[in-house]
Subunit: 190 residues, 2 copies
């Protein structure tokens, strides 16, 4: 990550996404991604463990979520801490909507990438549960809240990425959390 | 599935689980599984698409869940229909606790099997959302309820499988649904 490779991670991700969109995931090699980004294969593997990981940005989102949850005032209820965390994630995605849309099309076309995505979400849930336990939330509430958080994130992401307008993600997440409260309270979902 | 192969599916699953436990998933071949079950490789592939699928029983759980949800009285709230579905799944697992425990140890030791499990859960969620939409539950409530259902199932399964006593799964699920209501209503999880 020396200064002769400014933003190598981002350049590699952009190059990979371009190539995966043009030729397909299977037909692209790491050497080609590195070349397109003006970097070497060695640099690629310093940043990403394999061909899939470049689309998932390592543990960036997870780290952000854990940090944000840790910073929420102690008296905040778990579900409200979760809401703050989801809002922070939404901010990241809103900055990258075109990238996110293109990326989602690539993932939708490849079962291996879908598997990696599910693993990332499971890992996000585990990290979130850990962050909630650190705040003193007992089990099973910590794991439940974390799983529910990922559930809301999945549904919200899907709605945001397929929306015909450019509505930001944060209000989508807030609406879903309200919808969740209504549904768990026994509402009919309407 | 002729009468000369009674319970081929179950026998193959038992044989696979034994071999995966004894030698590890990677070290076991389909030929060995078929042999241990007293069946042929051809029969194996008539029942399961690959070496992983034998541990996941095809779409059995998903079909059960969809059927149960479809049979719940129309006036039932989505969250209560979900509760009935989870109870039905719990019944299946309680009948197979030793198998489920052994199976979980094998899955925990192998990332490929963990991936397949996550895919099965994602597919369970999609089927559940579909069953709820068929009952007239609108979106996003149907997807939210389905994702939340899978979230509760995951946490409940983990608690049930690691419990030191032989407590059945149904009351575990009921407690978690109550916990979920408390958490989403802004409780502190205690």
């Amino acid at each position: 990550m020396g200064r002769w490779e400014p933003n190598a991670r981002g350049r590699l991700a952009e190059a990979a996404l371009e190539l995966y969109s043009e030729r397909g995931f299977e037909q692209t090699t790491v050497a080609e991604i590195a070349k397109r980004a003006g970097l070497t294969e060695r640099t690629y593997f310093r940043h990403y463990a394999d061909k899939r990981e470049v689309l998932f940005g390592g543990s960036e989102l997870q780290d952000l979520l854990v940090e944000v949850i840790a910073g929420v005032p102690e008296s905040t209820a778990p579900i409200d801490a979760l809401a703050v965390g989801l809002e922070a994630l939404a901010g990241v995605f809103d900055e990258r909507r075109p990238f996110a849309r293109k990326r989602q099309a690539v993932i939708a076309a490849n079962p291996e990438l879908q598997e990696r995505e599910l693993i990332k979400l499971a890992s996000l849930s585990a990290a979130l549960a850990g962050a909630l336990r650190l705040r003193g939330v007992p089990e099973p509430a910590a794991s439940l809240t974390a799983e529910v958080g990922v559930a809301v994130f999945k549904v919200g992401f899907e709605r945001w990425i397929t929306a015909s307008d450019d509505r930001p993600m944060a209000p989508v997440m807030r609406e879903l959390l309200d919808g969740l409260k209504a549904v768990t309270a026994g509402g009919d979902g309407a």
